[in-house]
């Protein structure tokens, strides 16, 4: 399969770099489906006679596998180039749906765990990091804009998959017109088959469109000296193996972990939370289920828009400053939400929207932050290792919120005050993240890769 090799993907003269973002988006829009699983969750519960938790495990396995495969396969992705990585991701992602559909048709839940969870999860991890380092190399003048465009796709994927999946389930299930209709297992199986085919086609389009720039290529009018003028931005390179030995890697890890944990805290509880915040003394909420669903939709838009807008802004402000905004302003907004969010729905919605945009912004900005600190050499692999912060936050965020809410009462009885301990805990986390980000400094020169004019006698040790 030499046609997938990195050497075969070097762009010819005249290649337009603006073809690379749609190639990256083609992959991210597909794997973003991972956030649209709620569409068929109830159908699977009914089909397998399983609990919500047992079905929820499918998604949890996929996210854990995302973090693990991104961390483990990052170096492989950097070495073999984006085309082979995207192709592999497409095989795993589509293969996951195919195995999953087999599990649904044959009533074997473990096959869905294996298919969508394990196999699909590997596709998620490889796909997520596959275009990142290539985009950074094509857009050395605007790395935040470039990665923001791609990672925005991960947020946007669910916006597409959700209505399309609902429409397909209705089409595949002859009883879809019935009152209190829940899709049949057969309809979900067919949906999985359809998604496998469509996603495979889209991701292969991405794989065969993407190209890497030739060595020494730079955009017209780009002056690397201007980039170097920023204090935190390096023109040196640090390997993935050495990056994890630096204090800077772990400070960024903490900053990302805190930002994601705080965001997940709201996202996980979005619909019940807005209803609880405006629950009257008689137990009835001023916010209906339909309005709460609209609120969840608005947060999805905020999440997606923040990925593009804030990441692009970071090219002007610098990465450290924009992270100070995410974490510092985020902490202030979270405090206002906890203490005064229940005064008006407009204030509540506005605060939540901005907080979630910071959550998305944190994801999209971090590859460029890593490029600034560690150079482009193995930025994909370093990014992969950093995504373990996402996996950890995916566990910590819901755990914190659910533990506090369980202690406050039963669902349907909670009000705005019940959320204060959980939200104020998130404020503390954001302050910790803010301080960690504040401590980020340029990486020590002993971690830089050797150059012809500068050797290295021994491998650097872990930084204290």
């Amino acid at each position: 399969m030499g046609w997938l090799d990195r050497e075969r993907t070097v762009a010819p003269p005249g290649f337009n770099r603006w073809l690379v973002p749609p190639a990256a988006l083609a992959v991210h829009l597909c794997i973003g489906q991972a956030y649209a699983t709620s569409v068929y969750k109830t159908a699977l519960v009914k089909h397998f006679g399983a609990s919500l938790t047992e079905i929820g495990v499918i998604f949890s396995i996929a996210i854990v596998m995302l973090g693990l495969s991104a961390a483990i396969m990052g170096t492989w992705v950097d070495r073999n180039g984006p085309r082979k990585a995207m192709f592999t991701s497409a095989m795993f992602w589509a293969g996951g749906f195919l195995i999953g559909s087999l599990g649904i048709f044959t009533q074997q839940l473990w096959l869905v765990y294996l298919g969508y969870g394990v196999v699909g999860g590997i596709g998620l991890g490889i796909g997520y990091i596959s275009p990142v380092s290539t985009l950074i190399k094509w857009f050395p003048d605007r790395p935040g804009l470039a990665t923001g465009m791609a990672i925005m796709g991960f947020g946007g994927g669910a916006l597409i998959a959700s209505p399309v999946s609902t429409a397909l389930l209705k089409m595949y299930d002859p009883n879809s017109g019935a009152k209190d209709w829940v899709a049949s297992g057969d309809a979900v199986g067919r949906l999985f088959l359809t998604l496998a085919v469509v996603y495979l086609a889209y991701m292969l389009f991405g794989a065969f469109t993407i190209k890497v720039p030739a060595d020494g290529w730079k955009p017209a009018g780009f002056d690397p000296a201007k980039v170097k003028a920023a204090k935190l931005v390096t023109t040196e390179n640090v390997s993935a193996k050495n990056a994890v030995k630096t204090r800077q890697f772990w400070l960024v890890w903490i900053a990302l972990f805190c930002n994601v944990t705080a965001g997940i805290g709201i996202l996980e509880q979005a619909a019940p939370m807005i209803q609880d915040f405006f629950r009257q003394s008689d137990g009835v909420s001023l916010v209906s289920a339909a309005v709460a669903a609209g609120f969840v939709g608005l947060l999805s838009i905020g999440n997606m828009a923040g990925r593009f807008a804030w990441s692009a802004t970071s090219d002007v402000t610098g990465r450290k400053r924009i992270y100070m905004v995410y974490l510092g302003v985020g902490a202030v907004l979270y405090t206002v939400l906890a203490l005064a969010g229940s005064t008006t729905t407009v204030l509540y919605v506005a605060l939540a929207f901005v907080i979630i945009s910071f959550y998305g912004g944190g994801f999209a900005t971090v590859p460029a932050y890593l490029r600034d600190l560690f150079g482009t050499y193995q930025v994909g692999a370093i990014h992969g290792r950093l995504l373990t912060a996402w996996s950890a936050a995916g566990v910590a965020g819901p755990l914190i919120v659910n533990a506090f809410l369980d202690a406050q009462g039963k669902p349907g009885q909670l009000n705005a005050v019940s959320y204060q301990p959980a939200l104020l805990t998130m404020v503390v986390l954001l302050v910790i993240g803010f301080l960690a980000n504040l401590m980020v400094k340029p990486v020590d020169a002993r971690f830089h890769e050797p150059r012809p004019d500068r050797g290295r006698t021994h491998e650097p040790a872990m930084e204290a």
Partner: protein, 47 residues
């Protein structure tokens, strides 16, 4: 619009605007559809 150029390479070949338009449409149209569908749900928030 920036175009790629290699050091020492000849002038960039004419970029197919059509190819660029098709690539962006392939990802842009579904994304616009998804955003539109979501906004119709969001309308309930302000209705």
């Amino acid at each position: 619009m920036s175009t790629a150029h290699n050091p020492g390479a000849k002038a960039p070949a004419t970029m197919s605007t059509g190819k660029l338009a098709v690539a962006w449409a392939l990802v842009g149209v579904p994304l616009a559809y998804g955003i539109y569908q979501t906004l119709t749900r969001v309308a309930a928030l302000f209705g």
